[in-house]
Symmetry: C2
Subunit: 209 residues, 2 copies
Amino acid sequence: MDKEKIDKKDHILDVAERVFSEKGFDGASTRLISGEAGVNMAMLNYYFGSKEGLFLAIFERKISSFQDILQNLGNDDSIGAWNKMEKYIEMYGEKVVNNNCFQKLLYQEMSMNRSTDLSYKLRDMLMKSITELDKILREGIANGEFKKDIDIPMVIAALYGTKNYIINTPMMSSPLLGYDINDDNMIETRLKPQIKSFMKNLLKSYLHN
Amino acid sequence: MDKEKIDKKDHILDVAERVFSEKGFDGASTRLISGEAGVNMAMLNYYFGSKEGLFLAIFERKISSFQDILQNLGNDDSIGAWNKMEKYIEMYGEKVVNNNCFQKLLYQEMSMNRSTDLSYKLRDMLMKSITELDKILREGIANGEFKKDIDIPMVIAALYGTKNYIINTPMMSSPLLGYDINDDNMIETRLKPQIKSFMKNLLKSYLHN
DNA sequence: TTATATCAATCAATCGTTTGATTAAGTTTG
DNA sequence: CAAACTTAATCAAACGATTGATTGATATAA
């Protein structure tokens, strides 16, 4: 029954991820989480030790899948920097729809500005993607593809910030964009292409000579 | 003693604004807030009725000062759309440093995606600024200053999202930018000029023909 | 039997809130 | 002026409710 156990733990983590992202860590009670997951309250402590242990487990589960996704993109010499940027934006835009709850939760935790092991681990994880993007931008400057005076940190902030703004504040972005951001179908058919297209156009005109 | 009473209420609101922005609504206990403010716990209920009343009072106080700041900018026919954009970015960038805690709190509340009176009121408040920006962009398209195929909602999202990303996740943006985002002096001397300059350059190249 | 899984019941701690007493400050009255 | 009254401000203490966590009993499966 090892399979079922893992499935049940995974189910709890799925539910907890959603509830935490909706209510925040303090706002989500263990009773609510266990209730929504359809398990006894004591199961949370049985499986994860504590509420914080459950919270950490949500991130532990995802961190591995976030590794090496954007890896070895900056080390490829066969394509130009702008091509790499486009690939980065493509892959990045693809991850927008998936892991919606987790992205929200991740950003929420980073906003707390806590000096915890989790925060540092998440920062390091995110920094890996950012470093890759930084590498691409530097390469583009070095080989003359991009202007010399572009503001690399701000480009990165614009890319990540724009996405976060849209998915974290659907109450603003939905009327702004004209469709429901909470609708998975809309995200797939409209938001993803729109973000990708806009980011490419926006950065193309800014970066290029 | 009306003066002193207002000052004390204002002091409590200042402290509560900071504590709420740091810990979130549920994470900030009334004991902590009253303790940090140096007042008896019962004073919070005496002045504001309840914890939620205190929370609301924080926004009520600021909402008025957010009105008409970006007003009648879009109705001025004497200057071009791009000039208006620059003015908007200037004013907007200026508000970055001020109301740092409040901006964080505001974004936090909007991220909760709650269907409360407060959320709707805040949305309407923010929409006023956005509508003004929208008007400027449409005007620029209409008079040929800007390209016809610019993505207006995404431009708005990029402008607001970039700022939010930087001030809400100092743990990321500080190492990224190379200076401490939590330092008020650094915000004034470096961040504000950098955001303004970048946003102008970024949008100029994207919007213009 | 042994080990794991699940449950209702309960724990101490903390939460937001209320209370009743006390102080401070004005206002009225004699 | 001063004594009496009124109102607002402040406080320590306690309230009931909810929190995260634990217990010991029970069920299940190897």
